[in-house]
Amino acid sequence: MMAPSSNPQAPLFAGGRPGTLKLVVLLALAIMLMLADRQRGFLIAVRERALILTAPVYWLAALPSATIDRLQLSFRDRNALADENRALRDALLITQTELYQRRSEGDAQARVLALVQATALDAAAGTLVRLVDLDLDPFRHRLLLDRGTEAGLARGDGLIDVLGVVGQISAVGPGGAFAILITDPNHALPIEVSRNGVKSIAYGTGDATRLALPNLPLNVDLQVGDRLLTTAVGGRFPAGIPVAEVTAVERPTDAAFAIAFARPLSALGRNRELLAVKPVLYVGPPLPAED
């Protein structure tokens, strides 16, 4: 073994006595990287490039839980599977019926729209993606998806599951993509109250069961139990997808604004199958007719 104190000029990647100069240089480098990343956010770009190298690592780390999942599926009771099958078939029937009703409503709406020459209805088309079961950081509400650029995903695509809005794609590389949940403190989403069309913005709180709607007027028409939907404002999601249900409205007498809290409707990270939807192209008030 080397005698640490007899070797003051250790090469950069060897140990020995800790060099104070090296420490200062590396700390300065790390702090500079953090500041630059905070300004420019280039960790996203680095992650996208690095996915070629890191995708196998993620795959390897997700292997144990994926195997357990598969084993659970193959050892599941036959009766339980039959029950699930029946329940799914019932659900499908209900959904189909609703869909037919909606379609007739949609037809009527399309006729009205054609009449007033408004923008065409964009059908929500999406890509099915699966979640990779990994723990990126328990405090940041982030997910890893199993498809990337090859499936046509892009930064800014919206993510929804059967129950509602889940989040948005924040970085895409070959073979994988990262998503940010609507509950992340850095996420904000324009919403609309389904009952009366009141518009606001829902912010993530860092708590998986809560979104916050701050800065509402004190007399805002909002009640506990109201459903919040996406709007076309912001352009990331098709309008009318469920987001959350209002759980509390606080109107403090000594403040200028009311604040409301809502519980996200989607299963957030717990549903494995998600749909990635493209941003809606046209955003804004209807264009004037061109003639």
């Binding site: 080397m2 839980s65 723990d135 940041r140 403190p185």
Partner: protein, 167 residues
């Protein structure tokens, strides 16, 4: 030089596994208090084989952790460099402690690491973490003797095998 050749692959394998272990999914209440596995492995090698665990390596491995699961580029790099520096600095004292006392020192190192993590999170605009967040250094302290014995066993066995091959 022989020791270096013997320990270096073990160092890389252990660090890669530590990076992977941190990614394993678990329920949220457990995930918030899981110890920083890379920190434990780096602390072991800084103590017992400082010729492989230098500041430069700590920086590079920290960067790898940032790319895999960090919030800011450079965050883990900063934390790992400080952890390895402190371990190397007090190495001569720590090495001759009994293992339970060593675990206490590792607790202090991990707590310091957690405080840095907390600062970086707050400065980069995250919210206040739940109180379970502060239990992570305790879990790390409890894990230390096992990590130490495991890595020590592997390293010594490798070295013995090499010596036998040489003779």
């Amino acid at each position: 030089m022989r020791a270096l050749r013997g320990t270096y692959p073990l160092f890389l394998v252990a660090c890669t596994l530590a990076l992977l272990v941190a990614l394993l999914p678990m329920p949220t209440w457990m995930a918030v208090m899981k110890p920083m596995s890379l920190a434990l492995v780096l602390a072991y090698f800084a103590l017992e084989a400082p010729e492989v665990a230098g500041l430069g390596h700590a920086f590079l491995l920290g960067l790898a952790a940032d790319v895999l699961y960090g919030g800011l580029l450079g965050e883990h790099a900063l934390r790992m460099v400080i952890l390895v520096y402190l371990t190397l600095r007090f190495r001569h004292r720590l090495r001759f402690y009994p293992i339970w006392q060593q675990a206490g020192s590792v607790f202090a190192l991990l707590l310091n690491d957690r405080v840095l993590d907390f600062w970086i999170r707050l400065l980069s605009g995250s919210t206040w973490p739940p109180w379970l967040f502060w239990l992570s250094p305790l879990v790390g302290m409890a894990a230390w003797p096992w990590v130490f014995l495991l890595l020590d066993g592997l390293r010594l066995r490798r070295r013995q095998a090499q010596r036998e091959r040489a003779t």
